[in-house]
Structure formats: structure tokens, C-alpha cells
């Protein structure tokens, strides 16, 4: 396994197969992205999903992990909360969309963790606009 110490990982956890498609779409724009994972809830039990998230998290320092979910308060959000229970400092960002992920992938090596997660939340909000 490659040395992941110090690298920032993004884990997308969503309903259905959305996470997989988001990763595929991002890679269709930027090419292959390292340290970028999808966990799709599909037909799996919560315990299976939590184990999948934990398995990925084990490879990275906790302060270098960002979790993205599609829906705040949904089962994916709850499973991220379960996977990070007792672990301080891992950010779970809900309402994931393409602008957020594009910025994550392109800025994660430049901004520190706090700057980056703050930026991503703002980017997500700013990217939603009403048509005029």
C-alpha cells in the first residue's frame, strides 16, 4: 500500500450510487484522482456502510479526512457520524455537489484543513443560485 501519511482524503457517502457517479464525473473532468473514495449506500445495512467508511479512514490521519454526504440528517449522514464517533476534528460536509468536490480535489494540497473545509462549505452554498 502506498504511503498515505500526510495526504488528505475525501470520502463521499451517498444514497444509491450517487457517490460513485460523482467520483466518475470528477475524474471525467480532472483525470484520475488519488485519495478520493465513494461509499454508496445501495442495498447495504448501516453496519456494512459504517465498516466501509472506517476501513478507508484507517489509511489516513484523522486530521486529513473530509467526509462528504448528500443529505444532512439522512442515513448516510448518520453513518458518517457513527464512523467518526469519538474522533475529534473530522469534518462531515453535507449537501455535496460538483463545485464542492472540484474545489476539494484542486485545493486540498494548498489550503490547510480548516481553511479548506471552511472554503468548501462556503463554496457549496455559493454554488446554488436561482435563475434570473
Amino acid at each position: 500500500m502506498s504511503d498515505t501519511s500526510g495526504r488528505t482524503a475525501g470520502i463521499i457517502v451517498t444514497h444509491g450510487r450517487l457517490a460513485e457517479e460523482l467520483v466518475r464525473t470528477i475524474e471525467g473532468i480532472l483525470g484520475k484522482v488519488e485519495d478520493f473514495y465513494s461509499v454508496c449506500s445501495e442495498d447495504y445495512c448501516d453496519s456494512v456502510i459504517v465498516d466501509k467508511i472506517k476501513e478507508i479512514m484507517k489509511k489516513y490521519k484523522k486530521e486529513n479526512i473530509v467526509l462528504f454526504v448528500d443529505y444532512s440528517g439522512g442515513s448516510c449522514f448518520m453513518n458518517c457520524a457513527r464512523a467518526t464517533e469519538g474522533i475529534e476534528g473530522v469534518k462531515v460536509i453535507s449537501g455535496v455537489n460538483l463545485p464542492v468536490l472540484l474545489d476539494f480535489v484542486t485545493k486540498k494540497g494548498v489550503l490547510n484543513y480548516k481553511e479548506m473545509t471552511d472554503h468548501l462549505v462556503k463554496r457549496g452554498r455559493d454554488s446554488i443560485n436561482g435563475a434570473s
Binding site: Y44, C45, S47, G73, M78
Partner: protein, 157 residues
Amino acid sequence: MLVLIRIDDRLIHAQVVIGWYEECRPDRIILADDKVGDNEWEKKLYISAVPSDIKVSVLSLKETADRINQGVYNKERVILLVRGPEQAFRLYENGLEFDELNIGGMHYREGREKVIGELYISEDEKSVLRELVKKSVILEARALPGDEKVIMNSRIV
């Protein structure tokens, strides 16, 4: 008044609070489970997933059966959730008799096999469901109100 009794191993989640909202118009969701009630953290997590206009009660299986039978919720429209067949059967054994049970969410984990659609059921769970069938409970498989209602009674033999 119980408007839905549902097996869903995700318990409270979007499919229940949003997907069933129009059909059920619930005043309250009861999460009936002996484990969740003892875990404050988990309890808060589930409660946080419910919009503020719907009340939530996290009760043990016995408390659930007792309180419903005492008529505590007679004036409310109630969705009752349990995580699996065992819990549904124990509600019944505790005196909460019901005619119909929605099998809404039983997801894949080791030991479970696909029975229909996205429902995965283990042999042990099937035998518990058969006990409910013996008590004349109709088992209807349906994740959402708009889905085709499939009666499962003959599919768990």
C-alpha cells in the same frame, strides 16, 4: 392511531420522514427498540433526523406495546418503526396485536439473501416472519407508498 407499522433496519431516515410523509401525515414517530433507548448518543442522532413538526418517541419494545395499548397515542397519527422481524414479533408478544406489517427496509448484510426487490432476509428472520404469518399478520413489502404492494406471506416459506 397507528398509520404504519414498519420494519426498517435504518429506522428513522429520509425514506420514512419524507417518503411516507404525504401518505401517513404523522404527528409522531415511535422508534421501538431496546438498544437505541439505552444509547443517548444514538437516540439524539435519530431524533435529529426528524423535522421539528413531528414528535419522536424512542421507547423499549415493551413500553411501546404498553403505551399504545393504554391509548396514549389514540389522538395522534403514529408511524411505528422496528429494526427487524424479531422486534416486530416481540411487540406482538408484548400484546401489541396488528393485522398488517410493512417490510420496508431490510438491507444486505452477511447471512441475508435477496428475497424480493431490495429486501434481504436471513433464514432466522424468515422463521420469525412465519410466526407472524401464523398469527394472521399480512406482510407487505413496499419501500415507499407509491411502490407496488407485494404480499410476502407466501414468499418466506
